[in-house]
């Protein structure tokens, strides 16, 4: 059995990356191409009425090539072409100094800062609460049902209230946004950690008990390591939710800085290309944040399996 398995494994390794690409990468690449193609077609179809009305000569003396070219380069398109978005995206990052509010990266930094602060605070709060819940029957039965139930409630709706409360208490800047990101992060972390801290089997807890381990030792040596596989998926959910929270929190604060503010100003001034590049940027930021968490997960769990 063993030799056969290892033979198969080496065989797979020799077949190498191309087979993997054919199975995984190729379909994804084809889908992405299809999306791009559909986007270009959508650009032509959606922008055509506006182009005929405003840009092209009124007497009808234009060929379809003109229409095609015009729909790709509209000033205020209904749907900007992908290359327009990419150009705006690129110029938004390169054309202005990093600390200028016209620079896209500046807004990314603002949003990422409040997201990360909220993420850290939410994770710490979630860990603390879950440890308390696991060790106290009262909290477990009185508080946990409410935390679980709050998952089915649109907590994001409280964002304007948090902003008003913290604003009248004199907090401004990062703090209110980070608080909103925090309470979006902390729900999934708490629920998952309670599950994770309870995941050790009875036999393992009993063994620690026979070693006369204290509660803290049991927590540190057994429960926390056992909870790690539960923690990381929750962190990935939490940081994505925190990003949404941070962006929404930027909307009513006068929309000075951040990706959410960029979206809002874009929609005020009808600047479609700006909205789209902010949208692409927030998608990239979301991907980057979750990838970072996944990277930490791989590091931590690999370290664990070696030990």
């Amino acid at each position: 059995m063993k030799p056969l398995q290892s033979a198969i494994m080496t065989d797979n390794a020799i077949k190498g990356r191309w087979a993997h690409f054919g199975r995984q990468g190729l379909p994804v690449a084809v889908m992405l191409l299809a999306v791009l193609l559909a986007w270009y077609m959508g650009t032509v179809v959606l922008n055509a009425p506006g182009a005929i009305e405003r840009v092209l000569p009124q007497d009808g003396s234009w060929r379809w090539q003109d229409l095609l070219a015009v729909t790709m380069e509209m000033q205020r398109p209904v749907l900007p072409a992908p290359h327009q978005v990419l150009l705006d995206f690129w110029s938004g990052m390169v054309d202005w100094p990093l600390d200028s509010p016209r620079n896209l990266l500046y807004h990314v930094a603002v949003t990422a800062e409040s997201t990360l602060w909220g993420f850290v605070m939410g994770t710490v709060l979630g860990l603390f609460l879950s440890v308390c819940i696991v060790h106290s029957r009262t909290l477990d039965r009185a508080l946990l049902p409410w935390i679980v139930a709050s998952q089915s409630v649109p907590v994001l709706a409280i964002a304007p209230i948090v902003l008003v409360i913290l604003g009248s208490l004199g907090f401004a800047g990062v703090a209110p946004k980070a608080v909103i990101a925090m309470y979006l992060c902390f729900f999934p972390v708490t629920v998952a950690m309670v599950q994770g801290l309870r995941s050790p089997q009875r036999i393992e807890t009993e063994m620690l008990h026979t070693y006369a381990a204290t509660r803290w030792q049991a927590l540190w040596l057994l429960r926390l390591p056992a909870a790690l596989p539960f923690l990381f998926p929750a962190l990935r959910v939490g940081i994505a939710a925190g990003l949404v929270g941070a962006m929404v929190a930027e909307l009513p604060t006068g929309a000075q800085a951040g990706l959410g503010a960029r979206l809002l100003t874009g929609s005020y001034y009808g600047n479609t290309v700006q909205i789209w590049s902010a949208l692409v940027m927030s998608a990239l930021l979301g991907l980057a944040l979750t990838t970072a968490v996944a990277g930490v997960e791989r590091l931590v769990l690999r370290h664990r399996s070696q030990a």
């Binding site: 009185a142 994001l156 709706a157 959910v237 929609s267 998608a283």
Partner: protein, 315 residues
């Protein structure tokens, strides 16, 4: 009922009665300035409340007591919220007492009902049904196309990390300020979770069962209807439940970007900027109750539809 249970219930109802009587005292209703005596009494009452919750939690009888404990905790939280906010004279902008929120809920009933119709019955319900329905349809359609599945699945899973709500300004531009733009955002947000879950669910049928269907010479459609779709039900319900919350969030946040003069999100953002906090809180109560009720309804529906499934039978 055991003796200890009886004793605890008596203790709890005694505490609640004390709390009720305490509420009639002048400082608690805000008619007189709180005296040191009042603070002492409040402290004792707080100890009583903690004790009643602890006793209740220590009971080891049935699930109903777990629910009761949580309910008791909720009651005490609301109670002390009311008591302390009134006694400390916290400004209404910071935190209105629950009684005022209830009052706003009653006096602005018609407004809030209009918002509910605008946001929930139009945007959320239609968007949720469209998004989930399309996710389901696409998943079933590409069930026999592994190439498309391998291409779509990674992309669809990635969308969970992307703040999809951010398309709201574009949706408002395309579909106008009315509920159609919110429904579009909700459709987009609910589409992918349903697609991913249904695809996972369609793979959930056991090998044994599939081989049995095969030995019956059942056609593809027959196997799908009689075996694989029922086996996928728990996955689909999980997605529907997640989508219910997502849909509410999507519709409310999309209204922050522009809406007609009704809708829960509109109410929350405009009244918050006018510092009319009791009304904001009551709009949030409406949203929260809607979310919980939708969730409970879906759980009930799942019990009916997938009554045979182990995850349902256990509970």
């Amino acid at each position: 009922m055991k003796r200890s249970t009886k004793l605890t219930m008596m203790l709890v109802s005694g505490c609640l009665a004390c709390g009720f009587l305490f509420m009639q005292w002048a400082p608690a209703t805000g008619e007189a300035a709180p005296t040191p005596m009042f603070w002492l009494a409040t402290f004792v009452l707080a100890l009583l409340a903690v004790q009643s919750i602890r006793r209740m939690a220590a009971l080891d009888a049935g699930r109903i007591y777990g629910t009761l404990t949580a309910a008791l905790f909720g009651v005490w939280v609301v109670y002390f919220w009311q008591l302390l906010v009134v006694a400390f004279e916290v400004p209404r902008v910071l935190l209105p007492p629950p009684s005022l929120i209830l009052q706003a809920l009653g006096s602005h009933g018609p407004t809030l009902w209009g918002d509910f119709v605008q946001t929930v019955l139009k945007a959320v319900l239609i968007g949720w049904a469209l998004g989930s329905g399309m996710g389901f349809a696409v998943a079933v359609a590409i069930d026999r196309m592994p190439f498309l599945q391998r291409g779509l699945l990674p992309l669809a899973s990635l969308t969970s990390t992307i703040p999809l709500v951010a398309v709201a300004p574009i949706a408002v531009m395309w579909f106008g300020f009315e509920w159609q733009s919110k429904a579009a955002v909700v459709t987009l947000m609910t589409f992918f979770p349903m697609l991913v879950s249904t695809l996972a669910g369609l793979k959930a049928a056991g090998k044994l069962e599939r081989e049995l269907m095969h030995s019956y010479a059942a056609s593809y459609g027959r196997t799908l209807l009689a075996l694989r779709l029922p086996a996928a039900l728990p996955f689909m319900f999980a997605a529907l439940k997640v989508n219910a919350t997502l849909a509410l969030i999507g519709a409310i946040v999309a209204e922050f970007f522009g809406s007609p003069t009704s809708g829960l999100g509109f109410r929350i953002s405009t009244e918050a900027s006018r510092m009319n906090m009791p009304l904001v809180w009551s709009a949030i109560v409406v949203a929260a109750v809607t979310g919980s009720v939708a969730y409970a309804l879906l759980v009930q529906l799942e019990r009916r539809a997938a009554f045979w499934h182990p995850s349902v039978r256990e509970s």
